[in-house]
């Protein structure tokens, strides 16, 4: 009986550990969701473009800075929530604020392929390949028709990177 209980306990500890790793990965990283790796986890809070920001906002708390302006495109207010090292930009959809863009500006955060602020363009293309769309200094790698990971590269160093959707166009 003791052996059985010991085995069961070990299994529970093992499964618990696996669950934690799968859910959080590292504290600040890209995470898997629904078979696609597009949500980004910051201190255990998942932020996914295209989703309502309300849940993440409740966990992240008050931003360091907040701005809003009447949308040029949507019926309502576009909002910008600025936290230390990252920023969430939303657009209105009814009574929801949908995440359009999670923009990261600190080397405390990195993509699941290790790209962070300060990485070179060669680092980016080595990790993500050459199949990007480029406007100016913005390199976009599309996951599908609307979702993309982007790297804004200035003077051969990533200044911003992030996860976004083409919400309007």
């Amino acid at each position: 009986m003791k052996r059985i209980l010991t085995v069961l306990c070990l299994c529970l500890v093992f499964l618990g550990g696996c669950g934690k790793n799968a859910q959080n990965g590292t504290d600040n990283s890209q995470t898997e969701k629904g078979g696609s790796s597009f949500a980004f986890s910051i201190d255990g809070v998942e932020i996914e473009p295209g989703e309502d920001f309300a849940g993440a906002y409740a966990k992240l708390g008050e931003p360091d800075n907040y701005t809003e302006a009447a949308s040029c495109y949507y019926d309502g207010m576009d909002k910008v929530y600025t936290y230390d090292g990252f920023e969430v930009r939303t657009y209105p959809d009814g009574d929801k604020d949908i995440i359009q863009d999670l923009c990261l500006s600190s080397d405390e955060y990195s993509t699941d392929k290790g790209i962070t602020v300060g990485s070179s363009l060669e680092d980016v293309t080595s990790a993500y390949g050459e199949d990007y769309s480029l406007i100016g200094k913005m390199y976009k790698y599309y996951e599908d028709e609307t979702r993309y990971i982007y790297f804004f590269v200035m003077d051969d160093a990533v200044k911003y990177f992030g996860y976004a959707i083409d919400a309007a166009n």
């Binding site: 040029c72 920023e87 100016g136 913005m138 804004f152 309007a168 166009n169």
Partner: protein, 275 residues
């Protein structure tokens, strides 16, 4: 045939002729104003008239109603070849305007503008086609992001302390491929100047969805001694909405080269930018 019968036929003929002429007159008066760039008829139409007119297939419309509602009619595509009447307005205006290319004097912006023009413009294009190619590029390729307004100059390597805001708006968009109305219009203005047109930035208010007004930025260009509105941000807006609503061949040119006075019911200018 009796005299009585002849008299009845004469009366009926007179009535018929009267209806015929009445109908023609009505059609003529209601069909002319919704014409982009043909100034004579348009200037005589009041905003109320414009709201109620249905565009014909040949016309490239000025907006038929304020953008407080989603468009309900399938608009037309702007032509890439010389159109027949009445679209000749924008085509002729842009081709006939004498060009005087100018640069902003800010190296980063000028490099971005010149590189973009070099990538989009070909030698066989006339001036109308050059302008339209860039305008359409903005609508199809620039990502709308209102958040850019909170980060003016942060997508630029120019010194923010000595660079005009309008230059930073344009530079941010051309560097990042994203922006809001301020970025769209400022960038397009400097591109128009680089091509050779006398373009100017305006900011103020426009009606917003659901009522009220919202801050907005657009530009006008002097053509043939008159001012014409260009608004790539708003055209992106309407085009995308139409596309999402299943409209076939949505228009991208509702606010492309429209006489300023025709849109006075819509745009309320507050600031005429000097840069």
């Amino acid at each position: 045939m009796t005299q009585k019968k002849l008299f009845m036929i004469l009366i009926m003929a007179l009535f018929g002729t009267g209806f015929l002429f009445g109908g023609c007159g009505k059609e003529n008066s209601s069909a002319s104003p919704a014409v982009n760039g043909t100034t004579a008829d348009v200037t005589e139409a009041s905003p109320d008239d414009m709201k109620t007119q249905a565009p014909t297939e040949e016309t490239v419309q000025v907006p038929t109603e304020p953008a407080t509602e989603e468009p309900t009619e399938a608009p037309t595509e702007a032509p890439t070849e010389e159109p027949t009447e009445p679209y000749v307005g924008a085509w002729t205006l842009l081709i006939q305007e004498p060009l005087n290319p100018t640069q902003s004097g800010y190296e980063e912006l000028d490099t971005l503008v010149n590189n973009l023009l070099a990538s989009l413009i070909t030698e066989d294009m006339n001036n109308y086609q050059k302008v339209w190619t860039v305008y359409e590029y903005f609508i199809d390729n620039i990502t709308y992001s209102r958040g850019m307004d909170a980060h003016t100059g942060e997508y630029s390597s120019s010194d923010k302390s000595v660079t005009p805001t309008e230059v930073l708006w344009a530079t941010d968009l051309l560097n990042s491929g994203q922006g809001c109305c301020y970025n769209y219009s400022a960038a397009f203005m400097y591109i128009m100047r680089a091509i050779g047109y006398d373009a100017h930035l305006v900011s103020g208010n426009v009606p917003k969805y659901g009522g009220g007004v919202t801050p907005h930025c657009w530009l006008y260009v002097n053509l043939g001694g008159k001012q014409y509105t260009f608004d790539p941000d708003l055209d992106m807006n309407f085009y995308t909405r139409d596309l999402n609503n299943g409209v076939e061949n949505p228009a991208k040119d509702r606010y492309f080269c429209v006489p300023v006075e025709d849109l006075s019911y819509f745009y309320v200018a507050e600031t005429y930018h000097t840069n």
